[in-house]
Subunit: 176 residues, 2 copies
Amino acid sequence: MKIEDLKGRIRNIPDFPIKGVIFRDISTLIHDPEAYRFTINHLHERYKDKDLDLLVGIESRGFIFGGALADRLKIGFVPARKPGKLPWETVEESYDLEYGKATLQIHADAIKKGQRVLILDDLLATGGTLGATVKLVERLGGIIDEIAIIIELTFLNGRSKLPGKNIYSLVRYDSE
Amino acid sequence: MKIEDLKGRIRNIPDFPIKGVIFRDISTLIHDPEAYRFTINHLHERYKDKDLDLLVGIESRGFIFGGALADRLKIGFVPARKPGKLPWETVEESYDLEYGKATLQIHADAIKKGQRVLILDDLLATGGTLGATVKLVERLGGIIDEIAIIIELTFLNGRSKLPGKNIYSLVRYDSE
């Protein structure tokens, strides 16, 4: 299997969640042992010699890939979650959605100053979620080695919300 | 590290989410590379020769452990999610909470008749969530090899909602 084959393992669902949008469904990728293993192998190869301390995975699909990759890299996992889920003291960031706002939290003691962090999510769309995660990590003094995503929707220009950051995506879509 | 040491890596938070409850916080366990690796190693050892086809992980903390274990076991991952998250045709089950109801869905094409399934979540409390997941898997014809959980609150008697099922927990609490 090659990285070019991953698109064939992602299901395309027109008009979800709203009309005109094609949803890129990774549930078929993780359902396929070969494709799922390939994805984690590939990311493991990329990061195994980077001397990372922590992986920050974003709720919820980022937990699946992130849980696996943190295990492979033998590093700790830090969940970035929606409000009300984390039980300890948190730091939080709000960000704009197309309609309204959303908020993301991480535990305030989860990252120590100078720790090297990989951020992982399944999708880079408009960049709001990842932008908030970057702010949370940096507010706690973490050093972001890279942001890894499975799917990048390049036409939404999410990279503009992540200035100066290393960003690595496995699969890119240039239009809906 | 031994299995008896895992409790020391779980943070106890009194009065979360409500007064009188001690929340058992696994974020400290997954943050600790040794404890996280030990947990996944232990589960991997238990299930590696069981000839499983799929792991069903329950949103959201079940995604972290489940994502890692499915990768190790070289099997596919099926997410059980709250309503509105899965983009394809789903089956769903509702179950009672202390106040009100909750619903869980999985994709209708995620499990085929006769496939051998491991269900994994972080917590067995009253058993509502896992009971609904069992029904979803069996409705699609899946054969449940076992239900694995990290933490079991035995005093809530969640096993009574999972009659006849093999249930394996790593850490047990017999009272709040």
